[in-house]
Amino acid sequence: MTELLALDAGPLLGLPLAELWFGLVFFILATFLFLDGFDFGVGVLFALQDDEETRETMLAAIGPFWDGNEVWLVVFGGALFAAFPSVYANLFSRHYLLMFAILGALILRGLAPEFYEQRHDEQWQTWWGRAFVVGSVAAPFFLGMFTANWMVGATGTFTVAGALVGLALVALTVVDGAAFLRLKVRGDLQERAGGYGVRALVAYLALVVVAVGYLAVARPALRSSLASPVVLGLLALSVALGAAFVAATRADRHYVAFGTVAGLVAALVGVVAAVIYPAIDPAAGLLVEDAIVSTLPLNLMTVGSAVLLPLVFVYFAVLYSAFSGPMDADEGYGSGE
């Protein structure tokens, strides 16, 4: 028991754990949005394809990955619950209908490809294909709304800021999905994906400008945090990363392009975190230092995460390397039959 009693004595190694966990929660959110983002983006782009082979290839490309990607959302919820229980409770109950809209969209998005592949008749596949697209558009849109409402401290469900960030996130996931497809497919679709990615990127940056402009005008309380060097720096970084994405796409440097998308997602989530800090739930007036759990559970969670999260990255490395390179249409759900 002596080690455990020591865990009760004070913050582990004297670290600023409340701030570290604030950062970790947003890091997990960004990881989720980047990884599941390409699943959403592929789902949005699915709407633009009518060729059976192309559609199968797209489903095969995300097939092995999406379930693992989505677990980052579970870990986000779990980390928030464990480290900031009052924020978990306040935030999720305040955005009650929005949370279920997100969950409903994720259910549709997750089940649709699975059912799509179960039968090969036209009507069945038309309907599940549509469900896949609807879920893939709705999930990032509602996630963007949720994130923006959290940031601006909104108490209602629908806000203009929420809608703008929701649309921006849909655009960003299309960039993400296009960049991912460039890695996983070959031929005609790979060519077209470059075009989709660049167009979606322009839409994303435009929506970010509109959203920031709107917030600066309509939410005077946020002006000072929006004008902070960190936020301005992250916005400038987004523009630079956008340019790098276009250049890398044109030069067929697929991994570099995919990496810039990770940077774009991180910059967006970074802006949200920077605006929120030092609060963690502005609408409830909760500060990071007030909302953090007490020392013993915090130290336990810190030790646990320090051991487990590196292992999680190992699992992802094994999975992504097993499926490195392009996927074939017949590799997807139909394989193993």
Binding site: L4, G63, E70, V74, F81, S86, N90, L103, P297, L319
Partner: protein, 465 residues
């Protein structure tokens, strides 16, 4: 408008009742799949490759449906039970976070390799991935049941008031997480999952044998399932008996509800069947006059572990009582099914010994009829556990009525409840449809097995075989 507390509780019940089916299937199938995968790599007999492929399809659909229906649960504590989450989060949030990082991540990533990657990875990594997926599902249950069991037998904490709210503060993590209920729950649940899947496999196999389409594949399936039933069915009953005594000691109120004991008595009979003589008493069995067939002193004997004269504290001595009828009848359904599974396993085992396992039509019909009864027993078992602890959400610490989000309106709660009933019923129907379809298609033909292992495997193959 509907009371948000009631709507939230019904919604949580609908979510869990539907969701639990899928983890039972995936946790129960996991050890079978590890075995099939290992044998398919080691043995030249193609039947193991057929078994692996066929049951992996059922596993994959169960896992995916379990993922999307389960993510909802993690968020419902916050959306609907914000007061509970604020009060208990310090102790309750940790196991859920660890479940995500330690278990769910493990299963979800290796699932990708296990379901899609047979031709992309070596035999060794493939076997490892089957073990990792199985381990992940079992670790997942471990952390979820750590959290749940703490609500049944809360230990290792102190109550403090913070910002005017009662907060559970963790003081002894080992006492809290290795609480008295946890080992009982974990063994009972995991064994139940394996038994449920064995019953499922036996039922499907019996259908094929009964309709005279009994290929070697289905005979093999039936034998493997039966072997597992012969171990798990008696274990579940023996373990359940001891588990009942543990509940009588740690949650006497729940035990009284299971037996519908209202007044504190000694020499309490165990009613096998009990019917109220007035229909008004159907919801309160034994509250008034009943007609019943019981074993004299049976309930006392169960509660004490052998003393038919032991005293059982009646429900009237506790503050508030759970809906007794639900607990009483669910308990009887679970126990009755438990004994039926033992009987079925022994009956089939006897036929196997006499060499008539594939000839006894009545046995095959009994197996078919029991295909989903294991899952049904899990459902009623959980109803005993969760309804039986009412009115408490944390036994003796916090009531369910105090747990609901304070700002939740009846209209919001009703909207999502209606949505859940529609969506989850739809999901269950679709899942059933797909599983039945997979079963009708049957296993892959042995001559098809070789073709997909052909050299036209995609580039990027890392296999060393």
């Amino acid at each position: 408008m509907i009371d948000p507390t009631l709507a939230s509780r019904v919604q949580f019940a609908v979510t869990t009742i539907v969701h639990i089916i899928f983890p039972v299937m995936s946790m129960g199938l996991a050890p079978f799949l590890v075995y099939f995968t290992w044998k398919s790599v080691r043995s030249t007999d193609p039947v193991y490759e057929q078994l692996r492929r066929f049951w992996t399809k059922i596993f994959a659909i169960s896992f995916v449906v379990g993922t999307v229906t389960g993510i909802v649960l993690e968020f419902e504590f916050g959306t609907n039970f914000a007061a509970f989450s604020t009060t208990a989060g310090e102790l309750f949030g940790g196991p859920l976070a660890v479940e995500g990082m330690m278990a769910f991540m493990l299963e979800a990533t290796f699932l990708g390799i296990f379901v899609f990657g047979r031709e992309r990875v070596s035999d060794r990594l493939y076997v490892v991935s089957s073990v990792m997926v199985g381990l992940g599902t079992w670790l997942s249950a471990l952390w979820i049941l750590v959290a749940n069991s703490w609500m049944q037998t809360p230990r290792g904490f102190e109550m403090v008031t913070k910002n005017g709210q009662p907060i559970v503060t963790l003081v002894d993590p080992i006492a809290a997480y290795a609480n008295p209920r946890f080992p009982w729950m974990y063994v009972h649940m995991q064994n139940a999952a394996v038994l449920s899947v064995a019953l499922f496999m036996a039922g499907v196999a019996a259908y094929y044998v009964w309709t005279n389409r009994d290929t070697r594949f289905w005979r093999k399936t039936m034998k493997i399932a039966l072997l597992v039933m012969l171990i798990t069915a008696p274990l579940q009953v023996i373990h359940g008996d001891a588990y009942g005594r543990h509940v009588a000691e740690t949650q006497p109120q729940k035990f009284a509800a299971m037996e519908a004991v209202w007044e504190t008595e000694s020499y309490v009979p165990e009613y096998i069947v009990a019917f109220p003589t007035s229909m008004d008493d159907l919801t309160d069995p034994r509250a008034k006059d009943i007609f019943g067939i019981g074993i004299p002193g049976g309930a006392s004997w169960l509660a004490s572990g052998g003393d038919p004269n032991a005293e059982i504290t009646g429900l009237n001595e506790f503050e508030g009582a759970p809906p007794v009828a639900i607990v009483f009848w669910s308990f009887r359904a679970m126990v009755g099914l438990g004994f039926w599974f033992v009987l079925l396993a022994f009956w089939a085992g006897y036929r196997w010994r006499t060499g008539e396992l594939f000839e006894d039509d009545l046995l095959h019909k009994a197996m078919m009829g029991s295909t989903v009864l294991g899952i049904f027993a899990v459902e009623v078992g959980w109803i005993v556990t969760e309804v039986g602890r009412q009115p408490w959400v944390i036994q003796g610490v916090m009531k369910s009525s105090e747990a609901v989000s304070p700002n939740l309106t009846g209209a919001e709660a009703l909207t999502t409840l209606a949505g859940f009933v529609v969506v989850y019923t739809g999901i269950l129907a679709l899942y059933t449809y797909v599983v039945v379809r997979i079963i009708r298609q049957g296993p892959p033909e042995t001559e098809d097995l070789a073709s997909t292992e052909s050299p036209d495997a995609p580039s990027g193959v890392t296999g060393d075989d």
